[in-house]
């Protein structure tokens, strides 16, 4: 019935002891949709992301992916279910090159009877890497470069390219451009547009108002651990100032009034 939804959470709640970091979040993401999550520091954005990526275990609530209820024991489970996350701290091995990082932990191999000493299919991984990078329009001068020798933007692109290479079912980016320069930010935004064209669903956590208005279909605003607004910005009814007033608490979405403080 809810097959049209990529991700759906019901009453998702996380308490750290007495701190109610996330309270009753009902969130929906449709197929092919790009949604931004905004909110002040401590509003519950990152907590929300950590629950759906399996990094932390929720206090209560339900998470369903493509209509199926899921239970993640850890980030690996989420990854296997098709949720690829680009964390702020990029999980890349600095001394390895691009294909190595893309395929880390899920290498293409041959002579598999050799167990841990099975051989790496470098050629296949290189080709798949180039295909994956082309798909996201990521430009990296030489994929044989180690991550150590790359700029912040290039590193971010490698982390994002992982999602494209593995046909993820949902991509989550946690402030992907927070540490990047202008040019590098533009590069990452291009990748996001590319994903949109290909109909890949995306959740983008961002503080950057211009970026959000440029890229996504919908903004979900978090405030004090609760969702306080769900704004369809493609309708043109909202301006940046509106969003700011939702973030700061000057306004609250009608359907969320009962919990307004």
């Amino acid at each position: 019935m809810s097959d049209e939804f990529v991700l759906k959470t019901e009453d998702l709640t996380k308490h750290y002891g007495g701190v109610h970091a996330l309270e009753g979040a009902n969130f929906e993401l449709k197929k092919g949709e790009h949604v931004a999550i905004m909110g002040d520091n401590g509003a519950g954005k990152s907590t929300f992301v950590r629950q759906i990526t399996g990094v932390e275990q929720r206090t209560r609530g339900k998470i369903s992916l493509y209509g199926e209820e899921v239970e993640f024991g850890g980030p690996l489970d989420a990854r296997e279910a098709g949720i690829e996350t680009v964390f702020q701290t990029l999980a890349l091995a600095d001394d390895l090159d691009v294909p190595d990082n893309l395929f880390l932990g899920r290498e293409m191999t041959y002579w598999n009877w050799l167990g841990p000493f099975r051989f790496l299919d470098y050629k296949g991984m290189r080709q798949a890497t180039i295909d994956g990078l082309n798909k996201t329009a990521v430009k990296i001068p030489n994929i044989r470069n180690t991550i150590r020798n790359m700029s912040g933007g290039q590193r971010q692109c490698v982390a994002i390219a992982r999602t494209a290479t593995f046909h993820s079912r949902l991509t989550i980016m946690d402030e992907p451009t927070a540490a990047l320069g202008v040019q590098e930010t533009a590069q990452v935004e291009n990748i996001v547009r590319q994903l949109k064209e290909q109909g890949e669903p995306l959740i983008l956590v961002s503080h950057n108002m211009r970026q959000v208005f440029d890229l996504v279909d919908r903004i979900v605003v978090f405030r004090r651990g609760r969702i306080c607004a769900n704004l369809d910005i493609k309708s043109g009814d909202y301006t940046g100032e509106d969003v700011v007033s939702y973030i700061t608490g000057a306004k609250t979405g009608e359907e969320y009034m009962e919990h307004a403080l």
Binding site: D100, G105, I143, R144, Q187
Partner: protein, 357 residues
């Protein structure tokens, strides 16, 4: 278009853009050191125009001084076998200090199952066990020795991976334990008179054959297999490796086991070469093995280094040893020079890394 920093370059796999491998630096250093000794041989007044490298007296069929080349590599072959394992441990950002005493302990244990019953018609005067342990097929002492190494490595790895003991401390403890085992095994008595088969393992140039064969095997493993890739990944960013689904704990245990099995095999070869096993064997071997890896361009913070580098590092140490003997300088100078070279190697490597970044 020299600046390809952002977005301007295409997607390429360009072999010509591959960076200058750090092994080339070690190779250059090796060549330079050889040239220095060659020049010293010509210049020093008491050397009578001898050549370090070449056969100036027509003793061999080739132009090289084969005897010296053989000695250079034979001297480092056994420690080199240990260094192959230490290299893998250091690539995971660990360290293994237990290998020297492990060589002694394994030599004792393995040889006690590799003794011959009769020496010149008389019972073996150094027999540790009864006749049941005499004249066994050579495979038995070798398997026992390597299994002992695997056990020690598994203990090292378990303490490091599961109990989160720093590798330095865990293997330092094992350093003392192994030396203790070596002394306890025969109450401090040497074990001698191996079977012919056992003696053949390390006879003549055999240590070099083992060293080079194992070097080739582990070069292939580190470079072309999943095991190697995961070893580099763990040393490079352990958290990323874990997030990528690598079983970091199990992998670390495997690395320490392989390192200790190599050290154990070095113990078998050493006792065979010496035709005797003594509890004091292998002194400082762990440090020389680490030195070979460090000179070979390995990074103690993990993630970087290679088997080729370590083999070249072993050659550097061999050449220095041989070179100091050649110019008739005392062993004490050798140690000082080697210490200086190790430090210089690390400084050069750091400088190289910084200038690249």
């Amino acid at each position: 278009m020299s600046d390809t920093s952002h977005g301007t370059g295409g997607l390429t796999y360009d072999k010509s853009k591959r960076t200058w491998p750090s092994e080339m630096n070690v190779f250059l250093a090796l060549v330079i050191i050889v040239v220095i000794f060659e020049i010293l041989g010509q210049v020093l007044p008491y050397m009578n125009d001898q050549s370090f490298l070449f056969d100036t007296r027509g003793r061999f069929d080739s132009i090289f001084n084969e005897a010296r080349l053989k000695i250079i590599i034979l001297q480092v072959a056994i420690i080199g076998i240990i260094a192959l394992g230490v290299t893998q441990v250091i690539i995971t950002a660990g360290i293994d200090l237990s290998s020297g005493p492990l060589v002694a302990a394994t030599a004792m244990i393995a040889m006690s199952f590799g003794q011959t019953e009769l020496v010149n018609g008389f019972p073996n005067p150094k027999a540790l066990f009864g006749t049941w342990a005499m004249d066994l097929p050579v495979l038995i002492p070798v398997v026992i020795g390597i299994s002992f190494g695997a056990l020690i490595g598994a203990i090292n790895g378990t303490f490091i991976a599961y109990f989160r003991i720093p590798p330095f401390i865990a293997t330092l403890g094992m350093f003392l334990v192994c030396r203790g085992i070596a002394l306890w095994w025969s109450s401090g008595n040497p074990i001698s008179f191996p079977t012919e088969q056992y003696a053949a393992i390390g006879a003549g140039m055999m240590p070099v054959v083992w060293f080079l064969a194992l070097a080739v095997i582990f070069h292939v493993i580190m470079r072309y297999t999943v095991y190697g890739k995961h070893t580099y990944a763990i040393g490079s960013n352990e958290e990323a490796a874990r997030m990528s689904g690598i079983n970091v704990k199990r992998h670390k245990i495997m690395v320490y086991m392989i390192a200790s099995m190599l050290a154990a095999f070095a113990g078998v070869v050493l006792s065979s070469k010496a035709s005797t096993a003594q509890a004091g064997m292998g002194e400082f071997y762990e440090l020389f093995a680490i030195a070979m890896a460090v000179i070979g361009g390995i990074s103690l913070t993990g993630g970087r280094g290679s088997i080729i580098g370590t083999v070249l590092g072993a050659m550097v140490i061999g050449v220095i040893r041989s070179g100091f003997t050649y110019i008739k300088l005392d062993g004490s100078y050798q140690l000082m020079a080697m210490g200086a070279i190790i430090i210089a190697a690390v400084i050069l490597d750091q400088y190289r890394q910084r200038s690249k970044a």
